[in-house]
Amino acid sequence: MAGSGTAHLRDQDDIVLRVEGLVVEFPLERGQKVHAVSGISFDIAKGETLGLVGESGCGKSTTGRAIMQAPRPTSGEVLFDGKDLSSLSADELRRSRTKLQMIYQDPISSLNPRRRVKDIVAEGLSIWEGKGSDDPRVEELLAAVGLDPDRAGGRRPHELSGGQCQRVSIARSLIMRPEVLICDEPVSALDVSVQAQILNLLEDLKAEYNLTMVFIAHDLAVVKNISDRVAVMYLGKICEVAPSDTLYAHPAHPYTAALLASIPEPDPEAKHTDAGLTGELPSPVNPPSGCRFRTRCPRAAERCELEEPQMREVATGQFVACHFPLVGEQAPEGNRELATAPA
């Protein structure tokens, strides 16, 4: 994709988090740099779940971490609570982070192996309020995430399974009553049966604690299930942003369509389409000119090389950065059919 632009940003009062022109670059030797995230923008309304989806190396986790300012982005704004997080001092940032929490992919390594579960969960309280693990909120949260406070509270992470550790991580992230929860691949290390438990739990907690969520994952089916809107990323850019059901029914970006076609459906009757992608992700050190997806795109033309596509609306709430989208006026006949077929 992609492209840049801010046409998809909304002008509403209930926007909780707004990211504009976010750029993250990592320096290499000889003046080269990794263009991990190259000018992306999105916003999230109160109570909404935004899914960020893409293959490894597309910059989705870097985006999540850049929102937390860990590390701080190269440029761009992260507006939260009326403040630009990237301009805050370290002390102000620490205070803001209590309202902005993150859970990670590997549930076991993200917990301190030497501490007991209840101390891990109580850490935020001990830092900000001087309270200990006997605070009633610790017990309440452990119960809320489906752990028995009496049995699990005194254990250490190695005594728990992966799914239980992820529950502890979730309890820890909620203890300071955050407004925004950023989940970075929270279920990809878990077995399918446990994955469903954690996804259901996140949905329940979101309602109970009035959370706004950013859900980062590579599995489009998981992202679609939990998100209200989905942003598809490719090589540091956003290709497409749309409500999740729209995105699945009528993908507008050729990359979204290819991602959808690649997912193996657990259904032997499912048809194999030949929309599979060829080639590999180009290097983020020297990303292609124009549209970054053009080297693998079945619809690429000369224009895609010369001109970077900008975000524009092709259907209600559906924004795409592509010169030749699959939805809208220029959509080819055959593809319109394709877009409606799975329904």
Binding site: E55, S56, S161, G163, D191, V192, S193, V194, Q195, A196, Q197, L199, N200, E203, H218, D219, L220, A221, V222, K224, N225, I226, S227, D228, P243, S244, D245, Y248, A258, L259, L260, A261, S262, I263, P264, E265, P266, D267, P268, E269, A270, H272, G276, L277, T278, E280, L281, P342
Partner: protein
């Protein structure tokens, strides 16, 4: 759990036949029954999918079939016949003529299965030299052909490169090229695409399928993802706690699921065609400890259908339809199963004491 599976096509000797294979590990915590009485068979040109979660014993099963487990703390019983030859009693010296040449394996992580300090060309020509006696230019030309056949561009140049110079998908293509080098009759792929992105996963699975057809190989795909084997395997075996709990031709398994665990696995996967925020039918609890499984069905504590009988009597694989077997006292889609579920729903809990989430259970009953 010996199976009374009839040999279809008399005189048609299977490529691989595993009979009542048991593999236990002696550990300080006790004996881990990682594989506990598994029987299966693979024919030439056919694909068997083995599906299970972590800890179900699927990887140990593949290692045990390949004779790749350490001897010192492993207890192994049962038989593994490859083209009629018994492998369990073979010495490593004899196995070396079979490994790579007749049976080959692809592992999950291509970075750790390739040697990081040896050029790709040398890693491929190594087995060509050992098994086929090919050397020098002949071996090199063969290696280039192999890399081309697995879809690696600029194959000549790649021969001189090291694994770290390739992407994950390209590395997995190299391990496939190495596995195919000597034209094996059986290929065991243990989670071959789990470490790869979906778009690359699709390419690798397509590649395995083409190579299998061209070579008429038997293929075993081991995976935790039913989606990976749904469109590709001829037959699927579902493993739980070291045993096969359901086995059927692929379409039959999806159309008429009998084992509540298989049903639970299928229902807990988020599906693209469901509207966003569809509640998932999660399987409660977690897989059992294999050290001391206790009596009864190992799935009973997590099963919506569990009755008193399930807590005391371990079910064995029983036939349901041609080639379809399930190990369950109250199979899904039968009157016994429906009655069991209705009883549990009325009681609000199963015989194992697990509370029934009525929304989930009703969705389950509706599908039966």
């Amino acid at each position: 759990m010996t199976t009374a599976r009839p040999l279809d096509g008399r005189g048609n000797e299977p490529l691989l036949e595993v009979d009542d294979l048991r593999t236990y590990f002696d550990t300080p915590r006790g004996v881990v029954k990682a594989v506990d009485g598994v029987s299966l068979r693979v024919d030439r040109g056919k694909t068997l999918g083995i599906v299970g979660e972590s800890g179900s014993g699927k990887t140990v099963l593949s290692r045990s079939i390949m004779n790749l487990l350490p001897k010192n703390n492993t207890i192994r019983e049962g038989s593994v016949r490859f083209e009629g030859r018994e492998l369990t009693t073979m010495k490593n010296k004899e196995m070396r003529t079979i490994w790579g040449a007749e049976m080959a394996m692809i592992l999950q992580d291509p970075m750790t299965s390739l040697n990081p300090v040896t050029k790709i060309g040398d890693q491929i020509t190594e087995s060509l030299g050992i098994h086929l006696g090919e050397k020098g230019k002949v071996a090199k030309a063969h290696a280039v052909d192999l890399l081309k056949s697995v879809g690696i561009p600029a194959a000549e140049r790649r021969l001189g490169e090291y694994p770290h110079q390739l992407s994950g998908g390209m590395r997995q293509r190299v391990t496939i090229a190495i596995a195919l080098a000597c034209g094996p009759k059986l290929l065991v792929a243990d989670e071959p695409t789990t470490a790869l992105d979906v778009t690359v996963q699709r390419q690798i699975l397509d590649l395995l399928e083409t190579q299998q057809h061209e070579r008429n190989m038997g293929l075993i795909i081991i995976t935790h993802d039913l989606g990976v084997v749904a469109g590709r395997a001829d037959e699927i075996a579902v493993m739980y706690a070291g045993r096969i709990v359901e086995r059927a031709p692929t379409r039959e398994l999806f159309a008429r699921t009998r084992m509540p665990y298989t049903e639970g696995l299928l229902k807990s996967i988020p599906r693209l065609h469901q509207p966003s925020h569809t509640r998932l039918a999660a399987i409660p609890g977690r897989p059992p400890d294999l050290v001391d499984p206790g009596p009864g069905c190992p799935f009973a504590p997590r099963c919506n259908y569990a009755q008193d009988k399930c807590l005391t009597e371990t079910p064995v694989l029983a036939p349901h339809a041609a080639g379809h077997e399930a190990a369950c006292h109250f199979p899904v889609g039968t009157t016994a199963g429906q009655d069991a579920l209705a009883r549990n729903l009325a009681a609000g809990r199963t015989a194992a004491g697990t509370p029934l989430d009525s929304s989930t259970a009703i969705a389950t009953a509706g599908a039966a």
